[in-house]
Amino acid sequence: MKTILRLTLSIMFTLYLSAAFCQSEMVSIKGGNYIPLYGRDSLQVTISDFKIDVFPVTNQEYLDFVKRHPKWQRSQVKRLFADKNYLVNWVSDTILNDNQSLKAPITNMSWFAANDYCDCQGKRLATVDEWEYVAMADEDIADARTKDSYNEYILGWYEKPKTFNNEIGSTFKNYWNVYDLHGLVWEWTLDFNSVLVSGESRKDVDTDLNLFCGSAAIGATDLMNYAAFMRYAIRGSLKAKYSMKNLGFRCVQDIKEEK
């Protein structure tokens, strides 16, 4: 009896582990053109094909990462690369807090750490344009930005507290088979610092009229998309070493052309 119990337990454990590791599975995104909330001068942005993580990076995955890369452990990390809130809720360098699920998205994460994590996997962070491209899909269509239900869902999320504690996969699967772009955590993007909607844009950034704070909402190409405006505003206010409790990340990968 005991052996059977042990066997079941170990099988369950293995399954659990493999599930935890398989979470970094990726799906392919077919590139295309679209007009983001804030584009370049030509408005249209062209996205090449790429692969994206189905889920945000989890506590479990990040825990494995810091075990392999001690320089990213909380006590080792350089202040240049992460502020004091980096992994602030962990009990120690390699132990999560009781109320933190292994399958919840990793947060309290600086851009440098996220960037290096992806780099170590042979991946990278998504650009703002790529992220928004995938995130404008709802369950059914690739560009749901004009749908009321799509916008209401995201704005509804903004009002919900502490969604960062929820487990990955707990929100909807979108058109591209990607989960949790909305409803769980905000996500770092590679070039978040290209968003010039910030206090600074009023004083020290050269003429980029469509990004000036006051006129930002007017300059935005999609007035309906208040939710996206919020995302750009957050990105504009971030610094790379900031670690916020509702800001996580996922990685993407370029699709290498066959030679």
Partner: protein
């Protein structure tokens, strides 16, 4: 001197000594760490204040302002060597230092360097791109205005660094040409071309925002940053043509 004491103790208890040495060493390291934190402040005037301490640290890290002997082990108090500690600290890279970045850069002289190679001089940095028509010429002018107000003899301790946010266009040759054109080819000017990811990372360290608008046009924050000799950010001047008094004061304080 240390050596003889070590031997002396050695006769008494081997274990005890090694333990004790460990403590001494760790206290010393702790002290160094503290010294490094305070080194900026101490430069301002308390430099002459010598501090004495029991060489065996019988009273842990208790210090005295006068010479004398330790009340516990009766050994002569030793002055804590401040100069040597600051020298050692120079070699260490602090957590806040930009020298932690390992990205590689090409200079306008086509040398390949890491930021750490810039150690030892006060650094004044700005991010520009050479095809820029709007803000950069003014930003470059701001840099030259700052340079002009620094006494000639201080310039050897300074390095004015212009980093391109357009590494594709701004090659070493191009940067060299730009330097000559703008009369910024002296030794205290350095131009850097990085990789795309290296530039992004560095911009994030400086909290500089930039975005490519067209292939030859970027929109970007206008920030001039001042770093001390250890690569720690000391001051940032934001905006174009702003009053640079504070920036210059900071630089002069650091350079002296």
């Amino acid at each position: 001197m240390n050596f003889s004491k070590k031997n002396h103790k050695h006769l008494i208890n081997n274990n005890y000594v090694s333990k004790h040495l460990k403590i001494v060493f760790s206290v010393f390291v702790l002290f160094m760490a503290m010294a490094s934190c305070n080194s900026d402040k101490s430069k301002k005037g308390e430099q002459e204040l010598a501090v004495y301490q029991c060489p065996m640290q019988c009273e842990s890290d208790k210090t005295y302002s006068k010479t004398g002997s330790c009340p516990v082990c009766k050994m002569d108090l030793k002055a804590i060597a401040q100069e040597s500690s600051s020298e050692l600290v120079l070699d260490e890279i602090s957590d806040e230092s930009i020298f932690n970045l390992t990205s590689k850069w090409n200079t306008e002289e086509a040398e390949v360097i890491q930021l750490e190679d810039l150690k030892g001089k006060t650094l004044v940095m700005v991010m520009i791109y050479t095809t820029c028509k709007a803000a950069c010429p003014r930003l470059v002018a701001d840099m030259r205005n700052i340079e002009a107000k620094i006494p000639k003899e201080s310039l050897k301790d300074l390095n004015f660094i212009l980093i391109s946010i357009d590494p594709e266009t701004d090659t070493s040759q191009r940067l060299k040409a730009f330097a000559k054109e703008n009369l910024m080819d002296d030794l205290h000017w350095t131009f850097l071309q990085g990789t795309e990811s290296g530039v992004r990372e560095f911009a994030n360290v400086l909290a500089v925002k930039y975005k490519q608008i067209t292939p030859l046009d970027f929109s970007h924050s206008n920030i001039i940053s001042v770093f001390n000799t250890k690569g720690e950010l000391v001051h940032q001047q934001e905006g174009l043509g702003v009053d640079n008094k504070e920036t210059i004061e900071t630089i002069l304080k650091l350079a002296n």
